[in-house]
């Protein structure tokens, strides 16, 4: 979603005229009326200095970060200014906040180092800077500004996805499109180190072990990728042929949505084979149901699986929420007075979890529990 900036303004507290807009591009965008209404949020009381303030008024949204530099040399002993952006009231302006904050920091530094703003001559350089900012940010989302001989500002709009999920050790990160499309050098060192191990099958813990990167760092890197990339997902998955899956209502999107169809058929077709047909793939997904293991599916639909990689089929289905995994939860419903309270067989822990915690295998656990009359198994 593009964030369009309608206007960039530079406001300051004039020693005699009070709060005013010194420069704005395009000119005359902010009316006298609008400024009067919102000036208290632009040139603010000291308590609000250095805070990112976004106010909505008269169908416009103004984002700024008021700065106050105190020094005897200034008339009134302080310099107050604010470089802000104006957008339409309905714009989501989260991506602009870091830029506004950075700019206020840069201007503060420039003022402290060379009196950039208090000097009337150098202050005029702001106008072309603001014009460039407006143009470049709207056009490409990035802007590089040489301020003077030794200072350059780099700014970039980053659209963040909302609240990424917390990444766990057994989650599997996967690129839903070719990861070679991403230039490695743009990432930090940790991400670069783990990128080769992200193949849609290795989970976080495995990546950490094989790439020799500390577990928490891997998690953060993946969380960061989740925030920034669109075609990147993370899901919990432990593929076994004993797994059971079932369809969700979203499976119909494979039929309704051409783009999902294309993506799916491209993703699940076996390497080197002719593209799988939609009917085959859809039949496979619809073949997944409670009580049917992957093994059962493979034997029942062997013809459809000729051109389809079943692991990628499951992966795609999980990523796009076309299917979901059913897990087994044992519950100890009856016990005699003397035995301990059930710790793991409470209905809160799945087979997967129990196997991980105790180290016993799935089959072994199954054997133990299936024949125990005091234990019921719930699937969900």
């Amino acid at each position: 979603m593009a964030t369009r900036i309608e206007c960039i303004f530079f406001s300051e507290f004039h020693p005699t005229l009070g709060p005013k807009i010194t420069y704005q591009v395009p000119e005359e965008y902010i009316s006298r009326e609008l400024f009067d209404t919102v000036q208290v949020y632009i040139i603010t009381k000291p308590e609000l200095q250095n805070k990112l303030i976004t106010v909505t008024a008269m169908d416009k949204k103004l984002i700024g970060c008021p700065v106050c530099i105190e020094h005897k040399k200034y008339s009134r002993n302080a310099l107050l200014f604010n470089l802000g952006f104006v957008c339409d009231a309905h714009t989501n302006t989260c991506a602009l906040e870091p830029i506004v904050k950075k700019l206020s920091g840069y201007l503060t530094t420039l003022e402290l180092e060379s009196g950039f703003i208090s000097n009337e001559e150098s202050k005029q350089k702001l106008l072309p800077i603001m014009s460039t900012l407006l143009e470049d940010l709207n056009a490409t989302g990035a802007c590089t500004l040489p301020i003077d001989d030794s200072n350059t500002i780099h700014l970039k709009l980053i659209q963040l996805r909302r609240d990424p999920p917390i990444v766990q050790e057994y989650d599997v990160p996967v690129f839903a499109e070719c990861k070679d499309l991403y230039i490695k050098s743009q990432w930090d060192l940790t991400t670069q180190q783990i990128l080769p191990y992200i193949d849609g099958f290795r989970h976080i813990q495995k990546i950490s072990a094989e790439a020799d990167v500390e577990l928490n760092l891997v998690r953060i890197a993946v969380q960061n990728l989740l925030q920034v990339l669109i075609y990147f997902g993370v899901f919990y998955h432990f593929f076994q042929y004993s797994n059971v899956y079932c369809t969700t209502p979203k499976v119909q999107s494979l039929i309704d949505d051409k783009s999902i169809q294309e993506e799916c058929l491209g993703y699940v077709t076996k390497q080197g084979q002719k593209r799988a047909s939609l009917r085959d793939v859809f039949q496979l997904y619809c073949g997944l149901s409670p009580g049917t293991t992957m093994r059962d599916l493979c034997s029942r639909y062997s013809q459809q699986l000729q051109r389809v990689d079943e692991r990628r089929l499951i992966q795609f289905g999980l990523m796009k929420c076309l299917i979901r995994r059913l897990q087994k939860y044992p519950v100890k419903v009856a016990r005699d007075e003397r035995s301990r309270l059930p710790r793991l067989y409470t209905g809160s822990h799945s087979y997967d979890e129990i196997c991980c915690k105790t180290g016993i295998s799935y089959q072994e656990l199954d054997e133990r529990l299936e024949n125990d009359p005091n234990i019921v198994i719930c699937w969900k």
């Binding site: 990112l52 976004t54 909505t56 499976v251 039929i255 149901s289 409670p290 409470t346 979890e353 719930c378």
Partner: protein
């Protein structure tokens, strides 16, 4: 108060985070951090009241002493807004501390807006706090006339020009939550404006509040002991108590009922708190979409007993609502309900939607023996859950996990039927199923069918480019609640062939047999198919039977994967067995799957 922002690093080590943690997180994002009342008038901008109280002894600078190790990695998933990285150096403040950091004076300045901003939504974001309100202008009350004999000059009462009831939220609150809070602010403002006009209620309360504040300030100056003036205001001002109640309710149940000046009722519910399953809430937009899509064959399931619900209703509630509550049942669909309660179907839809919105009921498919149920993925099946306890109390001799285990694999109610059991057992089973539906433990599965013809081997390229039927056949609106379709009224398989649904059924009362009229109709219905599809279908052995082919063609538009078996049965007046046989005959071009109805599944499992 729940403060997940100051989380413990140990959480990150547990592999399988319980859904309870998420509950707190999302609970916080939907709760306000503070409620603030400001005014602007002849005495300037004033902060009249705020809650929770700012602890005067706790100044923001002392909080930085509780810094965490700046090198500790933030892996608990709390993403702070500031991406510059500067935020890593500070310890994340709790929500109250964020707002407490704003002094009374600064709040008064920024929240008592200019009159230009009155009558509109007010939204101001400062770092991690978002303030939302609805500043409202007051009309001046006339200057008090003093009697002619009084020699003293006319005294002008300090007048209030505008006021603003503001809720402080976390900056990353969901837009729908912000909208709801604004709505609430506006409603309270309307009530206050009305009472002000009628009897200067707001001015009087404001005067009281300011008097207490002045008193405490003077006391602090003389005694030196810090006190919160707002604590003293509470016992003296009804309005302050109302605002506190609003805040407390919003943070807990999400349901609020105030009586401004003990007279005007302002009721409000925050859907995000009411409609919660597991750790998630149902977004209001999704709720509304579902409500718009309910059909006459759906049923309304009350979440409380009808007696309990009736006792909660206000005295002046509509008699139609009372009738509906008394008449509704889990086995009755909305159409039947309309007949039994003697209300128009449209009215039923409206009242049902209202009850659902307020969290008093959900929409289900009416109970019948062919319904197939399965455990909901979000069901809490723990041995120690409060639900297990409630169940054991209500149905002695049975335990919840054992019952739930029976629904591990999809099972129809008919499968529980045991001719050797007493009918009382069966009745109890129905009660248990209803109980489990009410507590969102079960989902119902329906059969959906989709037409997908095997690709032709000769022209593989062409096949790939063509959209399947589902995408081609235009949307026939089959889900308008206001449509009075006269299809079969019962949900059970006991079909009575009443008149076909007028709008939806394409069944024409044409004579049977292979008449030219029928043939042409079938041909017309098949024109939406591609040449290849038509060929394949006509080559199916079952298609040689004109009756079967006619039925298939007639039902073609349902084979998009969006209409389940029961809907087709309802619209077309057909028996389950008829449809199943048809599906079987044409199975080479149909793909069948079972899943929950997305329209009503939202009540059992919110979409992630």
């Amino acid at each position: 108060m729940l403060n997940p922002l100051v989380g413990s690093p140990d959480d990150s080590r547990s592999m399988y985070r319980q859904s309870q943690n998420n509950f707190y997180k999302s609970g916080d994002k939907t709760s306000p951090i503070s409620v603030i009342l400001v005014s602007s008038g002849s005495r300037g901008n004033k902060l009249l009241f705020r809650y929770p109280f700012q602890r005067v002894d706790e100044c923001p600078s002392s909080l930085s002493a509780k810094q965490r190790n700046p090198y500790a990695l933030n892996v608990t998933g709390d993403v702070l807004e500031d991406q510059d990285g500067d935020s890593r150096e500070q310890s994340p403040l709790t929500d109250e501390q964020l707002v407490a950091g704003f002094s009374d004076i600064i709040l008064a300045t920024i929240l008592a807006t200019k009159s230009d901003m009155c009558g509109k939504k007010f939204e101001l974001k400062i770092d991690n706090v978002r303030f939302v309100g609805h500043p409202t202008l007051l009309q001046h009350s006339p200057i008090i006339q003093v009697s002619k004999t009084d020699p003293s000059p006319k005294r002008e009462m300090p007048t209030m020009i505008l006021f603003n009831v503001v809720f402080a939220l976390r900056a990353n609150a969901d837009p729908s939550v912000i909208c709801c809070m604004h709505n609430l602010s506006r409603r309270i403002a309307i009530a206050l404006q009305h009472e002000e006009r009628r009897c200067q209620y707001l001015t009087r309360e404001a005067k009281l509040m300011l008097a207490v504040q002045d008193e405490i300030t003077t006391m602090t100056e003389t005694d030196g002991g810090p006190q919160s003036p707002f604590r003293q205001i509470l016992p003296k001002c009804k309005l302050a108590r109302d605002l506190k109640e609003a805040y407390d309710s919003l943070c807990t149940t999400g349901v609020m009922r105030l009586h401004i000046n003990s007279w005007l009722e302002v009721s409000f519910c925050l859907p995000h708190k009411i409609h919660r399953i597991g750790g998630n809430y149902i977004p209001p937009e999704a709720l509304e979409r579902s409500l718009k899509a309910i059909r006459p064959y759906h049923a309304l399931l009350l979440l409380e007993s009808d007696k309990a619900l009736l006792s909660e209703l206000p005295l002046d509630c509509s008699p139609a609502m009372v009738r509906l509550i008394k008449t509704c049942s889990a086995v009755k669909n909305l159409q039947q309900l309309a007949q039994d309660a003697d209300l128009a179907l449209l009215q039923i839809f409206q009242i049902a939607a209202h009850l659902v919105y307020w969290g008093k009921a959900i929409i289900i498919y009416p109970l019948c023996e062919n319904n197939v149920y399965m455990l909901s993925p979000h069901a809490n099946i723990s041995l120690y859950s409060p639900l297990a306890e409630q169940f054991a109390q209500q149905f002695s001799g049975h335990d919840l996990p054992s019952m739930l285990a029976k629904f591990s694999l999809p099972v129809s109610l008919a499968e529980f039927r045991n001719p050797l059991e007493a009918p009382a057992q069966e009745a109890q089973l129905i009660q248990m199923v209803v109980w489990m539906l009410q507590h969102r433990l079960l989902i119902q599965l329906h059969t959906y069918v989709c037409l997908l013809v095997p690709p032709s081997e000769d022209e593989p390229g062409l096949r790939d480019e063509e959209l399947p039927l589902a995408a081609r056949v235009g949307g026939r609106s089959l889900s308008t609640p206001s449509a009075l379709s006269f299809g079969s009224p019962t949900s059970s398989d006991d079909m009575t062939l009443t008149s076909p649904s007028i709008e939806n059924s394409s069944a024409e009362l044409v004579p049977g047999g292979d008449s030219p009229l029928n043939k042409r109709m079938t041909e017309t219905q098949l024109t939406s198919l591609s040449e290849h599809e038509r060929q394949v279908i006509l080559n199916i052995p079952a298609a040689q039977n004109p009756e079967d082919l006619r039925m298939f063609a007639r039902l073609l538009h349902y084979f998009r994967g969006h209409h389940h078996l029961e809907e087709i049965m309802y619209n077309e007046n057909m028996r389950r067995s008829q449809l199943k046989t048809l599906f079987d005959k044409f199975r080479s071009v149909l793909v069948v799957t079972n899943h929950e109805d997305p329209i009503i599944s939202i009540f059992q499992s919110p979409m992630d």
